[in-house]
């Protein structure tokens, strides 16, 4: 089913930030891919490099950040080698991005039409008048009622959910092939989050978009994506089809992450926690970056970086763990029962 070549193929990217207190190794050999028309999840906790990955891809890193090595192939072209002028044609037109916070992604002193038509006119080579028509059409598509008059409004006249709709409309009006959505629903309430997720899914299917959904919410990933890349400490520790990863995780971090979320399905039990904290990326742990918090860690984990092991080539399942084949991390009924049992004893 999958096309032969991915639309976005990031190979071994290293992105560093140069700060006063030292070099932050934000991305440390990150490889991932996204195929045509495929929703892919990028999952991890704060500071694991999710957003930096997106920003590296679009080359919009802060001034002190630099992607020092690696390749980011978009439709076969290395984005890191592209001249600035060419890169500007990729941003927005080819790869669009929706940011986390709908409250700050729109300029409060311009009306919605100004903020939308400028980009559209520039990228689609049309007049402002045509651009306005495209903008209204896009707003109608994302479910803004009475779009023709609402474009004359300022951002503060829209609610949080509506602003996120405006941003989605602005991103889709340029007909991109790849959409990067960075925590698009994190700032929203659950009922609004459900609306926006439904809209994103619908738009993704309708336009056949490839999508990178960046989130820390495992529920959102499970419902929206077909494939996931799990990030930890600036590395991709595990990737594969969403269903496989949720049922049969291979990396101890992935499993621990699942165990630490309270669930609606399970009954009240003691949560399994991951001891310690998310690593700081100035002077990160040697070897496997998860080893200080991993209950299976052995001597080799402290010494050597685990290689990228391909478990199933057909399904593109990869894991970075020295001990993946010795561990049974399967999520099933029995382990759940065990857990409730332990609770009763305690």
């Amino acid at each position: 089913m999958k096309m032969v070549k991915p639309i976005l193929d990031a190979q071994d990217i290293y992105t560093y930030f140069y700060t006063e207190s030292g070099v932050v190794e934000a991305l440390d050999g990150v490889s991932f891919d996204v195929y045509h028309g495929e929703p892919v999840g990028i999952v991890g906790e704060s500071g694991c490099g999710k957003t930096v990955t997106a920003k590296s891809t679009l080359r919009i890193l802060d001034k002190n950040g630099k992607t020092v090595a690696g390749k980011i192939l978009y439709k076969g072209v290395d984005l890191l080698e592209l001249p600035d002028l060419q890169m500007r044609k990729i941003r927005g037109k080819e790869i669009a991005m929706i940011f986390q916070d709908p409250m700050t992604s729109l300029n409060p002193i311009f009306k919605i039409d100004d903020q939308m038509t400028e980009v559209i006119a520039l990228h689609r080579n049309c007049s402002k008048k045509e651009a306005l028509e495209y903008a209204i059409e896009a707003l109608e598509q994302v479910g803004i009622a009475d779009a023709a008059s609402r474009v004359k409004d300022y951002p503060h006249q829209f609610s949080g959910g509506q602003r996120q709709r405006v941003l989605i409309a602005r991103a889709l009006a340029l007909q991109p092939s790849l959409l990067i959505a960075d925590e698009p629903t994190t700032a929203l309430d659950v009922t609004i989050q459900a609306q926006i997720l439904e809209l994103i899914k619908e738009m993704q299917k309708k336009h056949g978009l490839a999508m990178m959904l960046i989130t820390h919410n495992l529920g959102v990933v499970a419902e929206t994506t077909k494939r996931v890349h799990i990030f930890y400490g600036g590395r991709v520790v595990e990737s594969g089809p969403t269903e496989d990863i949720f049922i049969d995780p291979k990396h101890p971090y992935t499993r621990a992450l699942f165990d630490s979320i309270p669930s609606l399905e399970k009954d009240k039990h003691r949560l399994t926690t991951i001891p310690g904290l998310v690593p700081r990326l100035i002077n990160p742990p040697k070897g496997c970056r998860f080893h200080p918090r991993c209950k299976f860690a052995t001597e080799i984990c402290m010494r050597e970086r685990p290689p990228d092991i391909i478990i199933d080539k057909q399904k593109a399942r990869r894991v970075q763990c020295h001990h993946f084949d010795e561990l049974d991390l399967h999520v099933d009924e029995t382990t759940m029962q065990e857990r409730t049992h332990v609770k009763e004893e305690a």
């Binding site: 906790e45 704060s46 609610s159 949080g160 959910g161 509506q162 309430d189 659950v190 009922t191 609004i192 989050q193 459900a194 609306q195 997720l197 439904e198 820390h216 919410n217 495992l218 529920g219 959102v220 990933v221 499970a222 419902e223 929206t224 969403t242 269903e243 949720f246 049922i247 621990a256 992450l257 699942f258 165990d259 630490s260 979320i261 309270p262 669930s263 609606l264 399905e265 009240k268 003691r270 949560l271 399994t272 926690t273 991951i274 904290l277 998310v278």
Partner: protein
């Protein structure tokens, strides 16, 4: 002035209260409106009221955890702030152990009540004074409530409480910026716990934290509750967290309680259409679960001008004519299961 814990225990203002038959906290028709005023040259006049809390009936029993859930702006935090006497109610009353906490009382009596009612705030980054050491931060409640206690005793107690929340002695001499979010929340909990309260109101204590750290804090709160026989009011917008921690749950919408029942009952026999939609809106972290989702139209209306009748009627899927006219009372449909709806699902 009283100066020791023993003397506090001796204040017999709560002798009327019987923990077996009476709730420890009882909110009756609580209203908190904030005026919006318009300033002219000489005078300011009130033009509208933000009805943050608009007739809340709620009770907490000794030793239980009541989860208070709702979307942003529904009045959860205001309810908590009024309950710990940080705000005066506009109307209605709050009984703590059978005593109306807003009746005229002596300073001593007021302190005795406040000592037993403590609060943990949402944002561990802004709720701790950055200029004060952890020792001073946790010592402050003793300075207020036990002014005659010696410095050495206060210090011993601070170290004791630090150990209880999982921090080390040397942390006492550090400043808040040296801690991670999870550790800061531990400091916030230590501050609330310092003077042995009976009730702690937790205002979104884990929503600013990463999932792996969130699990640590939830477990800590659970352990402390058992050790000190605490009563919690746990405010959150995340229903899976609420389900995990609560014995009973109250669902709030636009300043009113929509449904209140034992946790299991609320999830098994959800009665209010708003609770039903709220439950169905949560993305489940399991790709195998496919569900029909009720997606609510539109946004939460403004509390300045809430809809007449049932506040949920403009978004409700079961709305009838009566809903926009008559506000449904919070009725006890089954023992312990309260619902404010004309057409409940059970």
């Amino acid at each position: 002035m009283v100066s020791t814990f023993e003397e506090y225990e001796a204040i017999d203002m709560f002798s009327e209260w019987n923990p077996k038959t009476q709730p420890i906290i009882n909110l009756i028709d609580l209203k908190k409106w904030f005026p919006i005023s318009e300033q002219s040259i000489l005078f300011s006049r009130v033009v509208a009221q933000i009805k943050a809390v608009d007739g809340v009936n709620l009770f907490l029993n000794k030793g239980e955890t009541l989860g208070l859930v709702g979307e942003s702006g529904c009045g959860k935090s205001t309810t908590a702030r009024v309950t710990v006497k940080l705000e005066e109610p506009t109307e209605g009353s709050i009984y703590f152990k059978g005593i109306d906490i807003f009746q005229p009382m002596t300073r001593e009596e007021e302190l005795a009540i406040k000592r037993q009612l403590q609060m943990v705030f949402q944002d561990p980054y802004s709720s701790l004074n950055p200029r004060r050491m952890v020792l001073d931060l946790i010592k402050e409640p003793f300075d207020i409530h036990f002014p005659d206690m010696t410095y050495e005793e206060k210090e011993t107690r601070v170290l004791e409480i630090l150990a209880k929340v999982g921090l080390e002695d040397y942390h006492a001499l550090r400043y808040p910026h040296e801690f991670s979010g999870g550790q800061r929340q531990r400091i916030g909990i230590a501050r609330a716990l310092a003077i042995h309260p009976e009730v702690i109101l937790l205002d979104e204590p884990v929503s600013a934290l990463d999932v792996s750290v969130q699990a640590q804090i939830l477990n800590l709160l659970h352990d402390l509750q058992i050790e000190f026989n605490l009563t919690y009011m746990f405010i959150a917008h995340d229903l899976s967290v609420i389900k995990h921690v609560s014995d009973r749950v109250a669902v709030m919408y636009l300043g009113k309680i929509m449904e209140m029942s034992p946790t299991g009952e609320l999830f098994r026999k959800t009665a209010h259409p708003y609770s039903v939609s709220l439950l169905s809106a949560i993305p489940r972290p399991d790709p195998r679960i496919k569900m029909d989702r009720i997606i609510l139209e539109g946004d939460v209306p403004s509390p300045v001008n809430p809809p007449p009748g049932c506040p949920f009627h403009p978004r409700c899927y079961k709305v009838q004519e009566i809903c926009s006219k008559v506000s449904p009372p919070l009725d006890e449909l089954e023992p312990g299961h309260f619902v404010a709806c004309h057409f409940p699902e059970i």
